[in-house]
């Protein structure tokens, strides 16, 4: 489903050069859930953002469902329809109601009729347990509720892959569970997912593979059972000691 070959992303400023993603290659199969962990600044977000072209990379290849996203003939907007993304800070559209947040892209991008888009939106809002807030504005919702709306918004495009960038990091602790539950359900339904998170419990329970990133490189790529018990890399060991 996702194939990444020798991906390199460099941020260059007047007085700094950061190799945010440094020669990363990996594959994510259909229906696979991959959790990416690593210290802050290790390039997890940048890696994820390269997968849907939010970040233009310097070298390497990202192939989504057979399409090279940096190809000269590739319509990036068409690729992004198939790749949903959930952000740390939700990024709901504050001037639209919850329902409109979920229907807007369906109407604009997928060209669905209002009735069809509404029906789909209500079904998804029901699925994430927030249908009764359909006509509220996002600012009236708690963080956990907003993040669930954001998940519904991404799912409304019928994506083939879902990317999550620390979806629970901005939440109060008591709201983390409700968002993780939605993600676990998605995983059970066979959604292909790449998840950056610090929730080790989620990684252990749901992930098929864990990638450990540090300084732009993937240092470990292992099933959670092995990663959490016997990591090879000293830096992964040090990281786990800190977070567990």
């Amino acid at each position: 489903m996702i194939e990444v070959n020798r991906l390199i992303k460099i941020f260059e400023g007047r007085d700094y050069v950061v190799r945010a993603v440094d020669d990363v290659s990996t594959r994510i199969a259909k229906g696979e859930v991959v959790v990416i962990i690593g210290p802050s600044g290790s390039g997890k977000s940048t890696f994820l953002r390269c997968l849907n072209g939010l970040e233009e990379f310097d070298d390497g290849q990202v192939i989504i469902d057979g399409i090279d996203i940096a190809g000269s003939k590739t319509n990036l907007n068409a690729v992004r329809r198939e790749v949903g993304m959930v952000f740390q800070h939700f990024n709901l559209f504050p001037h639209k109601t919850v329902l409109e947040n979920v229907t807007l892209a369906q109407r604009v991008v997928r060209k669905r009729k209002a009735a069809e888009a509404n029906e789909k939106a209500m079904a998804l809002l029901t699925k994430v347990g927030i249908a009764e807030k359909a006509n509220e504005y996002p600012s009236r919702l708690s963080g956990g509720q907003q993040q669930r709306v954001a998940i519904a918004r991404a799912l409304a495009m019928d994506p083939k892959v879902m990317l999550f960038d620390e979806p629970t990091s901005a939440l109060d602790p008591e709201m983390v569970g409700e968002v993780l539950d939605v993600m676990k359900q998605l995983a059970r339904e066979g959604m292909t997912m790449a998840v950056v998170t610090h929730e080790m419990g989620f990684a252990r329970e749901v992930a098929h593979r864990v990638l450990f990133m540090d300084a732009g490189k993937v240092l470990e790529d292992a099933p959670p059972a092995r990663f959490f018990t016997a990591p090879n890399e000293p830096r992964a060991q040090a990281f786990l000691k800190q977070v567990l």
């Binding site: 329809r81 790749v83 990024n91 504050p94 001037h95 892209a105 604009v108 991008v109 504005y137 991404a154």
Partner: protein, 323 residues
């Protein structure tokens, strides 16, 4: 326990009244000093007036009867060589003949008030309002386009936008109006009104562009990233996500810009467009009520701008709904 101290307000209110009163007295003394005679009664006629039609005797004869009818009088004239007397109606206040007087042909008997006419102040106010409105509208469109060019990735568009904005913001509006009228207007054979509106539109456009650019850039990047991640194009993201939010934020400065425009539009009077300011100047040459007319003109600008402020205040509150 913390509580809000209730400080007495009345000494300050009293002070305010005293200061205002002092200003008024100062003004009064100042006008006394220059021996200015106030003629406020002359002002209303410049808003609207009744046309005056002088009435004359149709032939030589004698006034044989004057009978009042309301505030008018009916004057009956008996011709010298004739048969039937004729009745002429004039305003009593303007009556120029007495009963039994001799009149010759075309002598003025008095004045009859005709239809109501719109005075020059009203006309000037109307010109100011519609010129500002049209220029404002065109200026906002120019500003939106320029603002978008200003943040475009294309270097040519960005360069042109910067050049235009810097040119307009770095030169006085008065000079721009002259250049537009005498140079561009002559080359393109523009009507003075078109030249005036053109100059004002370009002026507002440059300032609006900066406001709109700032508004767009004030919307967090996460908003457009979320939209793009859903597959929306750059244009769709702009139209559905960024501009609606930016517009809400720039409404107050945009409104301020428009209110400024109404005042700035007084400068087009230099190319002989009869707006409110020009009307005021014209009236003064015939009425000699210099102070009264300028005060009235100032008041009219003030009324228009405050009505607009109120309107936009109300609009802002409507838009604040989703916050």
């Amino acid at each position: 326990m913390a509580f809000k101290r209730q400080s007495a307000q009345w000494p300050w209110q009293g002070l305010l009244v005293v200061i205002l009163l002092g200003l008024a007295i100062g003004l009064w003394i100042a006008t006394k000093q220059v021996h200015y005679e106030w003629r406020w009664a002359r002002v209303p006629q410049y808003f609207a007036y009744q046309e005056e039609e002088p009435q004359t005797a149709p032939f030589a004869g004698t006034v044989i009867k004057i009978s009042p009818a309301g505030d008018a009088s009916q004057v009956t004239i008996q011709p010298e060589s004739g048969v039937q007397p004729v009745t002429v109606t004039v305003k009593t206040a303007t009556l120029k003949v007495a009963d039994g007087a001799q009149v010759s042909e075309d002598d003025e008997i008095g004045v009859l008030r005709g239809d109501w006419r719109i005075g020059p102040l009203t006309q000037g106010l109307w010109v100011t309002i519609w010129i500002s409105f049209v220029s404002g509208l065109i200026g906002m469109i120019i500003g939106l386009i320029t603002g978008l060019c200003r943040i475009s990735k294309n270097l040519t568009l960005r360069g042109l936008a910067v050049l235009y904005i810097e040119l307009i913001r770095g030169t006085p509006l008065l000079v721009q109006i002259f250049i537009f009228y005498f140079f561009i207007g002559t080359v393109l054979h523009l009507d003075r009104i078109v030249a005036g509106i053109g100059a004002l539109s370009l002026f507002v456009g440059a300032y609006t562009a900066e406001i709109i650019r700032a508004g767009i850039q004030s919307i967090p990047k996460g908003q457009s990233e979320a939209a793009r991640s859903l597959g929306m194009s750059a244009a769709e993201t702009m139209i559905h996500i960024v501009l609606p939010q930016a517009f809400k934020r720039v409404l107050p400065p945009l409104a301020g810009q428009f209110i400024s425009l109404i005042k700035d539009s007084s400068l087009v009077s230099v190319i002989a467009i009869t707006d409110l300011t020009k009307s005021g100047r014209e009236i003064i040459t015939s009425s000699f009520a210099t102070f009264e007319i300028w005060f009235t003109v100032a008041l009219l600008y003030l009324v228009v701008t405050s009505v607009l402020s109120q309107l936009l205040f109300w609009l802002e509150r409507r838009f604040a709904r989703s916050d």
